[in-house]
Amino acid sequence: MRRVNFLSKIAIGMLIFYAANVLAQQQKTSAKETFCPNSLSAEICDSYVMMLKDAAATNPKSINEFKEAVSIAAKASLHDPKVLNAVLQSPVLSSKLSNIPISLQFKLLERESAEAVIGMQFSYSKAFNQTVYRSDGIRERSYQIQLDIDGVITQNAQENPRNFITGKLAFVGRSMPSFNLQKLQAGLVPEYCVDEAHINDRACFELEADGVEAFFEPMGSAFYLNYGADFGVETDQRFEAKNQTFGGFMFVAYEDMRIDSFLGYNNIKPSLRIAAETVDPNRETPRALAGDNSSYTRLAAEFSLIVPLQKLAGLPYYFTFNYQAYEEMGASKLVKTANLHAYQLKTYSLNTPTGIFVSYSSGRLPFVLANESTVEIGFQTYF
């Protein structure tokens, strides 16, 4: 039987909180509005109705039996991340969670030879004290302090194929195009196109889109450059294995604003981030457990590519590719023999604006011993 731990309790708590709010509304509205008011998503309504139907189908003989049946049905809902995410995004909960500066998303992780587990992806990003110190000419230069935390946690750490939580505090310098652009010629995009009455108007859509292209086209080729130093902590979800890192990085992204070039016409956007850092592991890391607890230098790289497929292949999807690599420099024979000196993770995906259509990733990140493959279809994730 599946063990209900803190993640499950959080999810059950949210469902109960939501159900309580719905029941409170029941006294004020009609039955139809109570079950599926317009302000709530179809996923929540469907799940809620199905939960009650499933409970009623057990023919409960008392209110306690009915409560138990509802509880069992609620637990079953824990295996549908679409429902859990819809609950997270419901007006009732999102208004409560909006004060918490952490982004949350549930995932169902189906493993090949084990039971499914619920995973929760979390992320927090915050920039501080951004200061522009030069904005004349064609490039703008600025700096800021940046804090990023993200990871995925699951019910049991051993079942987590992405058991790698990172927190980075960075000093970032930026060199960006200055965007000293000119307003388009009057009349090219009629002002009425921003009116509410024309927001879904096809002609205005085309005019506004042409206008945005024409507005940015004078920039031509654009390079976005970030560089700096960061201090970070990497850990598994039990906070047992930890790396402290310190190093420098550089990020460059390219975008061609011209529509008469191949990359610009097809809206293809590559980017590359490279870093060199010293890593100080604690005694619980796989590397230390293999017998080498020394500090080391690591090279890290991340490459991303965005390719809209409509013009290129007539498909209504965006192809994305992300490649992350970590390589220990001058690794000892012991570390190499244990295969703990290099980690790579490749992710290919086809996306729509509202979510992943299908994605495939293979490889591993630090703290994960074996390579794993993942296929994600919509909200379902298969490991």
Binding site: A127, Q130, I199, E208, S271, I306, P308
Partner: protein, 122 residues
């Protein structure tokens, strides 16, 4: 305030997002509506690849924020609200669009807070 076509800032961020992704906004002879547009993921809008790290997503969000800021202030003649400047506008927009799970409708009020749009009724 929720995602509303009655709000000019909400309309402008939607117009900008769909203009950057016109292939996705208009397909199968159908234009994505304003209401549907609120459900677009910001990861898609800022051109962040699936599986990208937080740092990568943050950089992408920063680029999107700079482009939107240039367009809304120069082309659409919006001005900053009293407690915002160029730097704080970019920073706030970046923070709003960077999270992996955010949707466009989640960021709309942030846009409204930063800019006083032309024709906006106070």
């Amino acid at each position: 305030m929720s995602w509303s076509s009655n709000n000019i800032a909400h309309r402008l961020i939607w117009i900008f997002a769909r203009s950057l992704h016109r292939d996705a906004a208009f397909k199968h002879d159908k234009l994505t509506t304003f209401i549907e547009g609120g459900e677009w993921n910001t990861s898609f809008i800022i051109d962040s690849a699936v599986g990208a790290s937080d740092a990568e997503r943050q950089n992408r969000a920063d680029i999107f924020a700079r482009k939107f800021n240039a367009w809304i202030t120069l082309e659409k003649e919006a001005i900053y609200e009293d407690n915002y400047s160029l730097s704080s506008a970019i920073q706030t927009l970046t923070d709003a669009f960077a999270p992996a799970t955010a949707k466009l409708k989640d960021c709309a009020d942030t846009v409204d807070e930063i800019y006083r749009c032309k024709g906006e009724v106070n």
